[in-house]
């Protein structure tokens, strides 16, 4: 057994066995106290229970907030549980949201897996959507191959948008958080330039592109508004799962995440792994942009990407960068989204309140993490001195 304790999992530095000072303990003079220790081993079963408890606490708090602001408990139960289980149209609405959310979640997860903090997901979505729209507007290629071309263009454009920050990080150590973030603004202004200029809808004169032709849209699944965007997300999830959890690339990415210098010393291509993960992240973000334009809105709008960047980061964080968990989390976030909309529309709950309860639930899950990394223990007090 070690004399020293491991540092928490999230800690960035690779200097390992440092004695960890105990967190400030609640002190009850002479009566024992609560200590907090770093957990050395976590079983999968315990992990599931703790996450579920976090979810329950978060939903409990959110419920309390809603009840205080005047929504009846039974109405909430109706909205959250009954309609999700019984109403096929509600479920379809959730899954429509879940598709693009899952893809941006994957984009974040792949990059975070190698500690490339891609904050530019929205910019890459914009580039991907612009490339796909260019193919659609100019009718490039034969109609049956149009969708395939649009996807390819979206992936390439998204990857290209992250290429510069990735290369700058590798070559001169430029912080990718800054460079990817700033490129979002460049992409957004480029988008406005096109939508208020050459791509403006000639029919309505609104600042969005003209509608895609039928051959340029992802087909309907015949269930609500669901399109092939959802199966596409599922397919990409499986692909990323294979890549990160099965293939050798996944193993290399784990080394790059935990200690790239170990891999370097072993002659493993750590730099190339990081670059590949960053490019894949950009490509996925580009595909997410494509899936919204071709699967939900059927045109390029000026706000289709709004909020997806941070949703992706959130989903990847909650899913611990695990692709399969990313998909499940995306569905749950979709539920929050849809329920939030109906709360606004039917119960007059302000949108700020909706965001508040969404945040409370997410924090409940995120905070449960503490109990996965630490053990809270009661230490009995000393006997009185003789």
């Amino acid at each position: 057994m070690p004399e020293t304790l491991p540092i928490p999992l999230l800690s960035p530095a690779p200097e390992l066995p440092v004695p960890v000072p105990e967190l400030p303990a609640a002190k009850l003079a002479g009566r024992g106290r609560v200590t907090v220790e770093i957990r050395q081993h976590v079983s999968g079963w315990y992990q599931g229970v703790v996450l579920a408890c976090g979810l329950v606490v978060g939903i409990g708090l959110a419920t309390a907030i809603l009840v205080v602001s005047g929504v009846g408990l039974s109405d909430l139960f109706q909205e959250f549980v009954v309609s999700m289980v019984t109403s096929r149209s509600s479920l379809a609405a959730v899954l429509v949201q879940a598709g693009p959310l899952a893809i941006v979640g994957l984009a974040a997860a792949v990059a975070f897996r190698v500690r490339f903090w891609n904050i530019g997901i929205e910019g890459q979505m914009i580039l991907g959507a612009m490339a796909a729209t260019a193919i659609a507007i100019h009718d490039v290629g034969p109609a049956p191959a149009r969708l395939g071309l649009m996807m390819l263009a979206a992936a390439l454009a998204g990857a290209a948008w992250v290429l510069v920050p990735a290369v700058l990080k590798i070559r001169i150590g430029l912080n990718e958080v800054i460079s990817t973030l700033l490129l979002n603004y460049v992409a957004f202004n480029g988008l406005l330039q096109l939508l208020y200029g050459p791509w403006q809808d000639p029919v309505s004169s609104f600042p969005n592109s003209k509608q895609y032709d039928l051959a340029e849209r992802l087909g309907s699944l015949g269930w609500g508004d669901l399109t092939w965007a959802l199966p596409l997300a599922g397919l990409l999830t499986l692909l990323c799962w294979w890549l990160l959890n099965v293939s050798r690339f996944g193993f290399l990415s784990r080394v790059a995440e935990a200690n790239p210098r170990l891999g370097e010393g072993q002659g493993l291509p750590m730099t190339r792994v990081m670059l590949a993960a960053a490019l894949l992240s950009g490509a996925l973000a580009g595909l997410a942009g494509f899936s919204i334009c071709a699967g939900v809105e059927y045109r390029l709008t000026q706000s289709f990407f709004n909020g997806y960047g941070f949703s992706g980061i959130l989903i990847a964080f909650l899913a611990r960068n695990n692709p399969l968990a990313t998909f499940v989390t995306a569905v749950l976030v979709g539920v929050l989204y849809v329920v939030g909309q109906s709360l606004q529309v039917f119960y007059g709950i302000p949108s700020a309140m909706v965001q508040l309860i969404q945040a409370v639930i997410v924090i409940g899950v995120a905070a449960s993490d503490f109990f996965l990394r630490h053990r809270v223990r009661w230490v009995p007090g000393r006997r009185p001195d003789v």
Partner: protein
């Protein structure tokens, strides 16, 4: 030698309460008592009702293997851990240590084995930080004066201006020791202080500690070096498995008796010479190299290592050893010169090609190039053979093969403390972590083994195991380069010894070498 009286060092945190003056009762009496201290971590009992007492004016050695509970006990004394049970008395008064700051105010200062330094700060800033000084500007000047006085008194030369992160491991430790001395600690706890020092430095340090004790300090020396205990300690307490097994006058015990107390069985290391030495496996010519901060530390180094021998490099830390090791590993570029490995010029190549040519490396800092603490034992093992195809191809990593290979390695290399191959590597003790590194590195039957301070911080038994592995590699026909700041280790292991100073090999000696002559070579060029 002039030594500042502990407790009155300049720059010390001003203390108004008379009762906590570290010099109180300096004439005689108990400085620090730990009574019936127990501590568990996540179900593991690290300390079981341990009693430990240090008198004022003595150097008290705390002896035991890795994992015996020495560091945990001392972390309790330094206020870093709060015991589950037990009491602490400082100079006869019962105290509750709410944290390291409380301990420092009581005059308890600890030098940790893993340094607590801000790497981007220089020595002065680090020490100022530890003082909790209120004003940066004036504090800096005061502290710097105090450090200069202390470092002169103790015989330490440290570059106070460079960021601590760019100092060598040995220099960083000096900063740690100075930090405690400048803080005016009357009860000094040194956790494995000599592990990274050369003989001369260690001797000087321990003599200084003795002098400090004579002037009224209490010095606790956590160590597993028996020689130090016998030469420098007034009293020794031996721990095993979280319990105190003996407390005695070291003069009344033989080395064999001490060893028996520590490990329960007697083991005496002996030099085993090489049996079959063949042609050169590594040839280094006119090697130049620079440190990360741009300073040139290798100046035309020449070195030849033959198959079947252990070549030991002795020298004071910071003379280019780290750069030499990194250049040989292929993770640092050579400034000039030529490196030939197994007959092929590998000067401009990276680790991949060198490993294909038969390089194995045991790096000095396990946490950097050796292991990834957050990865499992199995993953750390598999990292080495990943591209060999043993553990599956590009499409699929063969987890079953990895687990089987790791389990075989755990058995073959006697890696203990791994409850399963899926356990995180950071939970292994130092010795077992090093065995894991060696198991991985030796899996490919190396032709050249680079071992940089392979036994640093390891206990007697683990050190013997590591040394046995190096000898086995040599006897299997590999050339072994052992770089170490521990002259005893170099003397014990090497068939030839090169003394390194200022980026060159300044003298070579065949075993059995004259320790005195090596010492002279080290000093003359230092």
């Amino acid at each position: 030698m002039t030594v500042r009286r502990p407790g009155f060092a300049p720059g010390r945190h001003p203390v108004s309460d008379e009762a906590i003056n570290p010099m109180d009762g300096a004439a005689m009496g108990m400085a620090l008592e730990l009574l019936g201290v127990s501590k568990t971590f996540d179900g593991f009992q690290a300390l079981a009702k341990a009693d430990f007492a240090v008198e004022t004016g003595e150097v008290h050695a705390l002896l035991g293997e890795n994992g015996a509970g020495k560091s945990t006990l001392m972390n309790v004394a330094a206020g870093l851990y709060r015991p589950d049970q037990g009491r602490i008395r400082v100079r006869g008064r019962e105290v509750e240590l709410s944290g390291p700051v409380a301990a420092r105010h009581l005059g308890i200062g600890m030098v940790y084995q893993h340094y607590k330094l801000v790497k981007a700060f220089n020595a002065v800033e680090n020490i100022l930080l530890a003082q909790g000084a209120p004003r940066y500007g004036t504090g800096l000047a005061e502290v710097e004066a105090a450090i200069r006085a202390q470092s002169e008194a103790v015989g330490f030369a440290v570059d106070l201006r460079r960021p601590v992160g760019s100092l060598s491991v040995a220099e960083q430790q000096r900063v740690e020791i100075l930090k405690v001395l400048v803080a005016g600690a009357g009860i000094l706890i040194l956790d494995e202080p000599t592990a990274v020092l050369t003989d001369r430095e260690a001797e000087a340090l321990l003599t200084t500690m003795q002098a400090l004790a004579r002037q009224g300090a209490a010095v606790i020396l956590v160590t597993h070096k028996l020689g130090e205990v016998q030469r420098h300690a007034d009293r020794v307490t031996v721990m095993r498995g979280g319990r105190i097994v003996a407390s005695a006058d070291p003069a009344s015990l033989t080395a064999a008796e001490l060893t028996t107390l520590v490990v329960g069985a007697t083991a005496n290391p002996v030099h085993c010479p090489a049996t079959r030495i063949e042609g050169p496996v590594l040839a280094v010519e006119d090697l130049a190299g620079t440190r990360s901060d741009g300073l040139q530390t290798l100046h035309g180094l020449n070195l030849t290592i033959r198959a079947g021998e252990i070549y030991g490099i002795a020298g004071v830390g910071g003379n280019g050893q780290t750069e030499l090791a990194e250049i040989l590993m292929g993770v640092r570029r050579a400034g000039a010169g030529r490196i030939a490995l197994a007959g092929d010029d590998v000067t401009g190549t990276g680790p991949k090609l060198r490993r294909a040519r038969g390089l194995a490396a045991i790096p000095a800092d396990r946490q950097v190039y050796g292991l990834a603490g957050d990865l499992s034992v199995a993953e750390n093992y598999a990292v080495g053979g990943l591209t060999s195809g043993r553990f599956g191809g590009w499409l699929r990593v063969d987890r079953a093969a990895i687990r089987a290979g790791t389990e075989a390695a755990i058995a073959a290399f006697d890696i203990r403390g791994a409850r399963s191959p899926r356990q995180k590597a950071s939970l292994l003790s130092g010795g077992n972590a090093q065995k894991l590194v060696i198991a991985r590195e030796f899996a490919g039957r190396p032709r050249f083994v680079l071992a940089h301070s392979p036994a640093r911080g390891l206990d007697v038994r683990a050190t013997a195991d590591i040394h046995r592995r190096l000898r086995e590699a040599r006897d299997a026909g590999a050339g072994v380069l052992l770089i170490s700041e521990d002259l005893d280790e170099v003397m014990l292991m090497s068939d030839r010894i090169g003394v390194m100073s200022r980026g060159r090999i300044v003298g070579e000696f065949d075993a059995p070498a004259d320790r005195q002559a090596i010492g002279v070579a080290m000093v003359h060029h230092a």
